[in-house]
Amino acid sequence: MKKIVLFLLITTLSFSRESIRAVSTSQFTTEILLAIGAENQLLGTSYLDDEILPELKEKYDKIPILSKSAPTKEQFYALNPNFLTGWKSIATPKNLGTVEELKENGVEVFFTKSQDTSKIEDIYNDILNFGNIFNLEENACNLVKKMKEDIGIIKEKNKFKEKVKVFAYDSQESAPFVVGGNGIGNTMIDIAGGENIFKNTNFSFGVGAWEKVLDENPQFIIVIDYGNTSYENKIKYLKNNSPISQLEAVKKNRFIRIPLSYISPGIKVSKGIEIISSGLSEDKK
């Protein structure tokens, strides 16, 4: 049923593809759209988590930024858009209204499947779907091909290596906010040759427990860099005041810095996996 709906959506959109006027409300969808060359059909963006991919910067700067976080209905409709994509949370009554409401106002909504799953294949499919919708199939295919190649190389390299225990720390002090087992982050760690110590949780990002980290004694710590607490401050906290300051990985500075957008379900995952993989293969003294 879902496939049929998707098919119908894509075909209807393809008929009117000349006139797509899209708004993208997440960094990963913005980056997908820019990467496949849909910049002329993009009216506005919002919700930038961190730096846009350098090679897309020039394109990105030409498109108006509606808001740092969720745009208001007024900002949104003022652009007269007919297509919306981005974080799912944007289509709620408090933000831009429900999907039904948006449709009634002539806005088609397409949310990526990969924001809910942990499969890299879903990202590929999302990119191909965008290619379809925006009539840029070839660019989308090439992008997916390139990502597959990059990830394939890393997979090949780690084929026979032993898995390394990894703790992926997002933020917070009283209880750590971590990468859980049900999201793209966990899959990326896995492909890069790591084993997420919180892989048995059912969230993609969520509250873990320091005691679990102590008990598992991970060999490496991935630190996700974004927001108002700088990477340096997070490291300083882990080393000086955190309950895990005595762990080998902390004492020996086995930290891997990764910006948040590299661990979100978009075109940066292949680079993200590369960052983690090369971090893990560093000399484990």
């Binding site: 917070q172 209880a175 102590l214 927001g227 108002n228």
Partner: protein, 343 residues
């Protein structure tokens, strides 16, 4: 009556020891109680009495995370109950508690302000300090606004409610304008309250403040009893009511400030435990104070343990459990016992 009191104290102490051990043993990682006790003995005596047959991480979990958390639960449970007793004696109003009087929400506003300001000014600002400063300020504000007519209890509670909504408005404003997710989560910690942040270095001050307050309040138990009977009667019996009120305000303000700065806002304990204890031992502060301190400590220890074990991977906010357990018990208590509040 005396035997009953002693029994309550003994039973509470035994329960605290048992529940304390249980709390240290279970959690997202289960540990053996034997190891737990051996680690504790080694750590307390600072010598290797027992041969170390456990992983280093077990020791860190027990000593750096769970023991401080148990102690924080005991200290803040005891402290909140004591504050509840003091405020109820001061206002002669059974609704008075730091939560109702708006001190807790003032403190959480302070914590959230320091989170937001810290990110704007770019240095790390301890939310605990913000909570303490604002909690203290709010308490003085509430008592100052209500103070002219000798703490009319209704007036005090109404002012408390007003101040409380003012501060929760400010907090909501700050939270909605929070720049990002991690700021939001940091703010949520102070609004919903949690004992997860317990660390040794923060416990010592709280312990000292609590002990001093308990001693001072216990010394004044007779005056508190008289105060409940009415200001005029107290004056004629030679109690300096003004001085006593000032004493109560200072102690309860500082104690609440220190507790909220360590745990965030945990409602209900300060309101319910004193009532339950009045039902158990009567309204004489000589018996009421020790009973409430022990029961409050036990109650918060129990609820905090529940928050950690209901779901293995995630904690439930402690306020949810305190009200879900405390409220029904409180209601049945009120129905069964018509104790004399005084006056």
């Amino acid at each position: 009556m005396k035997v009953k009191d002693r029994n309550i104290i003994i039973i509470s102490l035994i329960l605290i020891i048992i529940l304390g051990t249980v709390a240290v043993t279970i959690g997202s990682v289960s540990l053996s109680p034997v190891h737990v006790w051996k680690i504790l003995v080694n750590k307390i005596l600072k010598r290797e009495i027992f041969f170390i047959e456990w992983k280093k991480s077990t020791e860190m979990i027990v000593w750096n995370l769970r023991v401080p958390r148990v102690i924080l639960a005991l200290l803040s449970g005891a402290g909140l109950s004591l504050v509840g007793i003091l405020m109820q004696a001061l206002t002669k109003n059974s609704l008075a508690s730091p939560y109702i009087l708006g001190i807790s929400s003032g403190a959480s506003t302070g914590a959230v302000i320091s989170i937001v300001l810290g990110s704007i000014l770019g240095w790390s600002f301890s939310p605990g300090v913000g909570a303490f400063i604002f909690g203290t300020f709010t308490a003085f504000l509430v008592f100052y606004l209500a103070g002219n007519s000798g703490y009319s209890s209704t007036k005090l509670v109404l002012i408390g409610v007003a101040v409380s909504s003012l501060f929760s408005g400010i907090t909501t404003f700050l939270v909605t304008t929070a720049k990002n997710e991690s700021q939001l989560r940091g703010a949520m910690f102070w609004i919903s309250g949690s004992l997860a942040g317990a660390r040794w270095e923060n416990l010592i001050i709280l312990f000292l403040v609590l002990i001093c307050s308990i001693i001072l309040v216990t010394l004044k138990y007779r005056e508190l009893n008289i105060l409940i009977a009415g200001d005029e009667l107290a004056e004629t019996l030679g109690v300096d009511v003004k001085k006593l009120r000032f004493f109560i305000v200072i102690i309860s303000t500082f104690l609440t400030g220190f507790i909220v700065s360590a745990t965030g806002v945990i409602g209900f304990v300060g309101l319910v435990i004193p009532h339950i204890c009045r039902g158990l031992v009567g309204s004489n502060h000589k018996r009421l104070i020790p009973c409430a301190i022990l029961l409050g400590a036990l109650f918060l220890l129990g609820t905090d343990t529940l928050t950690r074990v209901i779901f293995k991977t995630q904690e439930i906010p402690i306020g949810v459990i305190t009200s879900m357990l405390g409220a029904p018990f409180f209601m049945s208590m009120l129905r069964k016992n018509s104790y004399n509040f005084g006056g």
